[in-house]
Amino acid sequence: MSATGGPIVGDARAGERHVVELLARRFGVDDPVVLRLARLTVRAAAAGHSCLDLALLDAELVASLDARRLARDVVGARDDRADDDGPLPGLEVALTALRECAAVHVVAALPEEADGDGDADGGVDGDGIRIVGPRPLVLDGTRLSTQREHAAEQRLIRALARRAAAAPEPMPAGPTRLTDDPDQVAAVAALADAGVRAGIGVLAGGPGTGKTTTIAALLAARLEADLAAHADGGAGPGARPLRIALAAPTGKAAARLTESLRAALPRIAQVHGETVARQLGLLEATTVHRLLGIGRGGTRRDDASLPHDLVVIDEASMLALPLAATLLGALDDRTQLVLVGDPDQLESVETGSVLRALVDTLTADGGPLARLTRNHRLDTTDAAADELARAVRDGDVDGALRLARDAAGGDGGSLRFIATDDPLRHAAAVVAPLLDDGEGGGLLAAIAAAQEGDGAAALTALAGARLLCAHRHGPHGASMWVERLRAQLVAHVGAGGASPGDVWLPGEPVMALANDERTGLVNGDTGVVVGRGGARRLVFERRDGTLLERPAEALPDVVSAYAVTVHKSQGSEYGTVVVVLPPATSPLATRELLYTAITRARRRVVLVGDEAALRAAVGRPSVRMGGLAEGLARALPASSASG
């Protein structure tokens, strides 16, 4: 009977216990230094790091790895037992202990030796990876990883290196007709070319920069060229129709991609012709898991390579390391891969920051990386919110503080700052823009529509504004705000009645927690509670635009969403976003979290917190320990890698 966790997944303590038991029982390890480093490595993986870098090991790092602290955001009393084993070992002591340990595979100092024919003899799997045997830990330089994380990283590096060296057949693209924005036109050209030369193309850009338009332009150009090849009756690569797969790490992101492409179809029909538009209209984005046929056990049901000529992965910032490795392993060298995403956003809740490592490694100048920087979607009265997003992204603490201070008194602009070290004391100001978003939407409009049984109108009203928190639980968490908002809204429900003991209130936003084949709902889908009196029904908008309506009891895996975590809000947009800043001491107070939260807003951002919290978040980039960027820089040819 588990329930929703915070943004941090898994029970790190159970994992730590398991690894320590394994080391002790199977390998007879009793060195307290090794056991402690093993525990910290598992804890690091639970916090998203694919390794523990011993060169960075200090008390601050250990504190930031405490999953309980991350999830609960309580500093002090309850968490001071997290790591009570005394002073941390120094680097040399740690390395010596690990090198002497039978449970640790030590990677040879010169990785070049592992290339070429050298690893053909024994202990090599199909991907050319040296099998490190049953040893549960791997030491690579100063990086200590679990065998699973290390293998995934190596698989990904090898696959990308192999693709870069393979030089697949060129795939002709027709002219770019859908956009005349010079950045987007250049991006289409770079991506069309990249698959040939580097085996991968990356399209990086923030919200509103036209990533989806650029994908649509690329797909349409490809399809037009493909159709022309068929019309000529030519054989060869064009002998069968182009096969395209679209996918995203989450069902919600996949649904949004499908939706955006469908919305572009009329324009595509105009500039590329009806046939191209019809072909594009047949495409439906899926989750990466579904594309790869990954079952409940986390492995592919079938090892066969994907049959596609072109695979496009959207929202790739959320692509976790093991999934990226499996994806690359499932592609033939001739399949072109394009990753699309915003590298400045939060990473996957699992390990790794694949997109950022690629963006840091690949070269943009004529290489496989295309960047879009101009925001075309500004729907605001002034530029303050957009300027704040840029200041946060660039780590400009002074600029962000200046913008926030300028916005402290104002009410009508795109940015408002409620400066307080105790958001609860300003609850009325926090809640006001949620109740009424100033554009006809908000929670009160949702209640009115829900009481009339109009789920569609209620959903539209709810898209007007949302409260975002860094944490799910704790005194600053989304759960607390959900209960706050409910307590206040019971009075607004009025005739028909609602009491504090009711499970659901009419107009209450809800979110699905699991994929459900029967209903077509996917994890992260949002809905609303409708109905008068006791019988409540839930209405969700499905990806095809149709509404799903069910009694509340029939949809068990659903949580309240008056307030949601920033992690859960990824891929969603709202008119107004009210962001409760995590306290400066919270390890979740990072640049990427704040940037992701701010960029969920189309029209207005309301920041709630004190200047110390804002300064801390903007000043602290999320750093994930891992060996991917270094491994890629070493493995990719100079023509595609920048470093």
Binding site: A3, R72, G474, G477, W504
Partner: protein, 122 residues
Amino acid sequence: MAHNLLGTELATCSTAPMTGFYRDGCCSTGGDDTGVHVVCAQVTAEFLAFSVREGNDLSSPRPEYGFPGLVPGDRWCLCASRWQDAYDAGVAPPVVLAATHARALDWCDRDALFAMALDAPE
């Protein structure tokens, strides 16, 4: 001997419904119990509703897990971190200190537990 929050022997929480990770009426814990079901609470309607909204329906019976489904007034061994979540959200149910395992302090705030106690010492 398992200890409670008062430093004495752990008392039975509830035998009707039969609670505890080991279904022996006591909020004791062991290596398998990663959820640490150690807080003996007397559930309220408000808490049960909160729990549904958190994606953890404690009101509906789940025979496959030997779970009877709770009604307000039942005593039940709650997962300690869940109890603290409810406390932070302002909807924590009252607790029985004599039947709450001392390990609850790994997850819960001592002052919070004592503030919500049905059997607080003088």
